[in-house]
Amino acid sequence: MATLHTRAAARLMSAPAIILLLCWMIVPLSMTLYFSVLRYNLLMPGMEEYIGFQNYSYFLTDPAFLSALTNTLLLVGGVIVITIVGGVALALLLDQPFFGQGIVRLLVIAPFFVMPTVSALVWKNMLMHPVNGLFAWIAKSLGLQPYDFLAQAPLASIIAIVAWQWLPFATLILLTALQSLDEEQKEAAEMDGAGFVSKFIWIVLPHLARAITVVILIETIFLLSVFAEILVTTNGGPGYASTNITYLVYAQALLQFDVGGASAGGIVAVVLANIVAFFLIRLIGKNLEAEPWHAPFPPAGRPSSPSSAGRSAS
């Protein structure tokens, strides 16, 4: 009886938080669903009417949609590849004993504390700017033509900026994982005749597998909704060259004032995120269940709707 009472009491106590959370999620979601079947343009207030799935068919057949989808996947994939490869390399370096280790580690983590808008502006105006930027100055000092990164290679530039922000995160998690590798295992491998490369491939990399899984999961959740970096640097352009789904939804709602279309886009983004999540979990979720391992961060659950930016824009 006692446990039954306790359980009932526990439910009662946690109910307010759960109900609040549910409202927080359900209300915007159902409103977005509702708006997505309306013709609702802010330029024509008071003219809302039910139009079925027309918003969806317009959004999905928009030529911008395909390029936004490709850009989203390229952005997520590119940043993950750079941060994992770079993160492993940096973690290996930082794991070596050297003078000033503490300060260097702190500096490596620093970019993670810079807000996305700020770091994107710093990159845009101080590094990549074709006239005032550091890279332009280097190019000119070498007698080369300065390269206008954000105009010539907008998506690659944004990938670089976002990767720079996320590299510390990957490094941090991979470094802690690396430090938990048993010293005797490394020595045993050394005795067994493994050189640096074979030790890395056969001992270190398998040990890091779970940490890499965690990094991929968490980064995917956040990278699907990259927005600020695009807004302050390229505005999605030139053309749609650096527009991702999130930015496309924003453009639909706040540049074209088409709330109905944007809502449909938001729902499409939710569905896409869940498709990605489904494959991701199937692909690497096994890796997380295989054996108990303590990540410095809790392993992320199912990334249900990373497109909250899209919804709030609608």
């Binding site: 020595e187 045993a188 067994d192």
Partner: protein, 332 residues
């Protein structure tokens, strides 16, 4: 094949000297045990031989060749670690095959050698399991399997049994001894447990604070300890020491008598005392006696010797079994 010579080997970490100059000869096919209290440098010495630590000065020869500067992999030694250090993501087969794979051996050769090792160690039915699915003793055997496939010139064991429970430890002790008879390869074994040392070794090296106190066969150390440290360390229960007036009678600064070399009586003898604790094991009785003028003395009596706490007993050391030590602790 399999002889190891240490010549004036010295190891210091900065200012701290772990092993002052030390020389040692290990012959081919010997089972050598390094024994000593914790922190005496026995593991460091083993790691120096393995090449996992660099010597500060001195020379290590393996098979007559200077191996001081060789990396661990080139010394043709294999090591069994205290934590076993198995590769958790590899199957038992993968673990045992790893050194062969690193040596670039042929697939068929690897397959055959792994199967042989597994047969010797009774691991054949576990080859496809992961280390975490094995018991402590099985993991230990996998670690040994990984060591034997390479056919090294010598095996190094770093306290390999300390993570096992008592019963398993006795078993593995026998298995390792048997393995030594089978392979006839030099083995160096580090332990702090003098029972392991006594039961397994051909030659025991007693270490204390980085110095070799004595080298010899188990019985040599038992019967002729070179100094008080060895006398007290080898043998269980420990040797009893008496100083002062009692030692003077024998013309020494201190005398030592092993508990098993004491004749006990309830009527009369050289030393007398009160029993504080009597441990009846059935086969033997261990008496802890507060002896007059000597202090706490441990004595071994037959299982039938019926005394209890508070009883008066008399003890007579067996003549000729008394170890005499001078003021510096050296045996006379």
């Amino acid at each position: 094949m399999g002889s190891i010579t240490l010549r004036d080997v010295n190891k210091s970490f900065g200012e701290v000297t772990i092993i002052p100059k030390l020389s040692l000869q290990i012959d081919e096919g010997e089972f050598v045990v390094f024994v000593g209290p914790s922190g005496c440098g026995k593991s460091t010495l083993l790691r120096l031989i393995a090449g996992l630590e660099d010597v500060t000065s001195g020379e290590i020869q393996i098979d007559g060749r200077n191996a001081t500067e060789l990396p661990p992999a080139k010394r043709r030694l294999s090591m069994v670690f205290q934590s076993y250090a198995l590769y958790p993501h590899m199957s038992v087969r993968g673990n045992i095959a790893f050194p062969l794979k690193m040596a670039g051996e042929d697939k068929a050769v690897i397959e055959k050698k792994v199967a042989d090792a597994a047969r010797i160690l009774n691991l054949t039915s576990y080859l496809d399991r992961k280390p975490r699915q094995l018991s402590g003793g099985q993991r230990q055997r996998v670690a040994i399997g990984r060591a034997i496939v390479r056919q090294p010139t010598a095996f190094l064991f770093d306290e390999p049994l300390s993570n096992l429970d008592a019963a398993l430890r006795v078993n593995m002790r026998l298995e390792i001894s048997e393995l030594h008879h089978q392979l006839k390869t030099t083995m160096i074994y580090v332990t702090h447990d003098q029972v392991e040392a006594m039961t397994m070794a051909d030659k025991i090296v007693v270490l204390n604070a980085g110095n070799i106190e004595q080298v010899g066969s188990p019985l040599e150390l038992y019967h002729k300890p070179r100094n008080r440290f060895v006398a007290g360390f080898i043998g269980s229960p420990k040797m009893n020491f008496a100083e002062g007036a009692e030692a003077k009678k024998y013309g020494a600064a201190a005398i030592g008598v092993r508990p098993e070399h004491m004749n006990l009586s309830t009527t009369g003898g050289d030393w007398s005392g009160t029993v504080t604790v009597a441990e009846h094991l059935g086969s033997d009785t261990f008496l802890h006696v507060q002896a007059d003028g000597i202090g706490l003395v441990t004595a071994r009596a037959s299982g039938e010797f019926a005394v209890r706490h508070g009883d008066r007993v008399y003890m007579t050391p067996e003549p000729g079994r008394i170890h005499r030590f001078d003021a510096a602790g050296l045996a006379i």
